[in-house]
């Protein structure tokens, strides 16, 4: 079957369960396509030989009751995988081989999936274009020299290019939803506390969440129900009643109240984005939803708040990289010199910049003016959402203020790069779930996404709205395989 990699996750699962395809056939197809797609640079570490062996083993004694029976899957290289190098896109972890497995990936393997490799990402997930990775740029399969978004850029590229049927990313300020939007794929950032952070390389612990990235909403719902579990190894994991998201998925969203926040109409937003949003509103109405204008008055303060909170937490989390316990070490004349050289040579420019910002805002004399202030504004941003959710069930916005941009276009101006996350960051600050679905194309033919934001723990509702709208939108990704010679 030459078209194996064109099948959705749900189709592959069905075909394996119906014994029309074996795990070996499916795994081989994705491995072969991945091998032909090196130019995308989506992988940091490949594990093809092991994957094919595991598939063979699976086929010898297939357990077809599992939810992902013998399904090959590549994952973002921010998840620790036992005995397979995990770099977080950084030189400082270039040789790090975890001796333990992240809870989220363990949940996936427990359902029968097979790891085929680790996907490229911005260094320590700090970036919006995958250009800060020590392992180089990732190409967006949509067009040559186009960024795939970030930080989960290898993940979005790999799903859109069908190198893996589905994947997982992490989202601290938009790192799942923005790359999904840039590549015409679906990406869900769950509620904070839904997916365990155990074994995920930490960036900003009060914001980080893992989530699924998929070709369609149904696949996304299936993976979410697998990865979201209560985990006592993560003290912020929340023990709430989780839905069986794929089973409970419905297109019936009649009477759902969907809010349109006027503050998301930002200055200088391209008309294409405005038009996409209007179209989205029409689609939602067609599905029977009721549209309600709402206000999230502190939206404009979300990015400045984020650029205090996230670097502050990062500077603290990344203090562990000292060249002593694991990872890269540069030799120095004494202990302090060794620390300083290790961190200077081991971290890239963006990571150093954020550590410096974080250290500064937490330093003596500045803590109240910056960090405490940001925590207070974060409260105001969360209050905005709490107020809005007294009137509506979900909120509809664009995912990003533009379509994908060219590699190198924004690397010299950190602030213009940060502006990419203007619609996604407030969701992380408030700890809410948000999903990006592909909803149209711009004049260049590049995909554009719409974001649906839910109440905390209400993933089922936003998945349902996304599922209903997906059918109306009927989006088709226009990928020509230009990178395959």
């Amino acid at each position: 079957m030459s078209d194996i990699t064109k099948q959705s996750l749900s189709e592959l699962v069905e075909n394996i369960k119906g014994k029309k395809l074996s795990s070996s056939e499916v795994t081989k197809a994705f491995v072969e396509r991945s091998e032909k797609s090196k130019e995308l640079n989506a992988y940091i570490t490949e594990d093809y030989v092991n994957a094919l062996n595991k598939a063979k083993k699976f086929d010898e004694k297939p357990n077809l009751d599992l939810k992902l029976p013998g399904i090959p899957m590549a994952v973002k290289d921010l998840f620790c995988t036992k005995d397979l190098r995990t770099t977080a896109g950084s030189k400082i972890l270039n040789n790090f081989v975890p001796t333990y497995e992240s809870t989220v990936t363990q949940n996936i393997w427990n359902e029968g999936a097979i790891l085929i490799g680790k996907l490229n990402c911005d260094e320590f997930a700090m970036g919006s274009s995958n250009e800060t990775s020590f392992f180089g740029n990732v190409q967006n399969p949509i067009d040559k020299n186009l960024v795939p978004g970030g930080s989960s850029g290898g993940s979005s590229s790999a799903v859109a290019a069908q190198l893996t049927p589905i994947t997982i990313g992490t989202d601290t300020g938009g790192s799942i939803r923005q790359p999904a939007s840039f590549t015409g794929t679906v990406g869900l950032k769950p509620t904070y506390g839904s997916c365990s952070r155990y074994g995920i390389v930490a960036f900003a612990s009060s914001l980080d969440q893992a989530g699924p990235m998929a070709q369609n909403v149904k696949d996304c719902a299936l993976l979410q129900e697998i990865i979201s579990t209560y985990d006592e190894k993560d003290s912020t994991s929340i023990d709430f009643k989780r839905n069986v998201y794929s089973k409970e998925l419905t297109k019936d969203i009649k009477g759902k109240k969907i809010g349109i926040p006027k503050e998301y109409r930002v200055d200088g937003m391209p008309k294409e984005i405005e038009d996409l949003w209007k179209k989205g509103i029409e689609y939602a109405k067609d599905c029977g939803a009721e549209i309600i204008d709402i206000s999230l008055p502190h939206t404009n303060y979300a990015l400045p708040t984020y650029y205090i909170v996230a670097p502050a937490e990062a500077s603290s989390n990344l203090a562990r990289y000292d060249g002593v316990k694991y990872g890269f070490r540069a030799e120095g004349e004494n202990l302090i010199d060794m620390y300083e050289k290790t961190r200077s040579e081991g971290f890239g420019a963006e990571v150093q910049r954020r550590i410096m910002i974080g250290t500064y805002v937490l330093s003596s004399g500045y803590y109240d003016a910056y960090y405490l202030k940001a925590q207070k504004v974060r409260k105001l941003i969360k209050n905005d959402f709490d107020d809005a959710y007294k009137k509506v069930d979900a909120i509809l916005t664009p995912s990003t203020p533009s379509s994908a941009f060219k590699i190198g276009e924004k690397t010299n101006d950190p602030v213009s790069m940060y502006l990419n996350d203007i619609f996604t960051v407030p969701v992380n600050l408030a700890g809410l779930p948000g999903i990006s679905i592909p909803a149209g194309h711009d004049a260049k033919g590049y995909p554009l996404g719409l974001q649906i934001i839910g109440k905390a723990f209400d993933e089922q509702n936003i998945l349902n709205i996304a599922y209903a709208m997906e059918e109306k939108i009927d989006f088709k990704n226009n990928i020509t395989d230009w990178w395959i010679k």
């Binding site: 001796t99 009060s206 912020t236 400045p304 002593v324 694991y326 202990l335 910049r353 500064y360 105001l380």
Partner: protein
């Protein structure tokens, strides 16, 4: 506000990241443009606002005080860049 080279040197020391003159100048430029952007927060009055420290509105769960993983020494030391039997090795600290 303006972050000068002296401040950059101070932060680099606190961050344990060595910076030379050229890198310090680049960082000063970047940080100044980022902090100009952050200054926007001062438009807001927040005197009576409670800071949000965690979005997860739950109290920490208690667990029984049991050892669940043991004999991890080899695993802990496995990735160290330099080791000597059971220890991490660092440059000499005490003269």
């Amino acid at each position: 506000m303006s972050i000068d080279l002296k401040t950059i040197k101070h932060i680099s020391k606190l961050s344990r990241i060595s910076v030379d003159e050229k890198k310090a100048e680049k960082l000063a430029g970047d940080l100044n443009s980022i902090f100009d952007f952050i200054e926007k927060l001062n438009e807001l009055k927040t005197d009576n606002v409670e800071p949000l420290t965690s979005v997860a509105e739950t109290t920490l769960k208690l667990r029984s005080d049991e050892v669940k993983s043991k004999n991890l020494r080899d695993q802990v030391i496995k990735n160290s860049p330099k080791e000597n039997e059971d220890y991490f090795v660092v440059p000499k600290v005490i003269e």
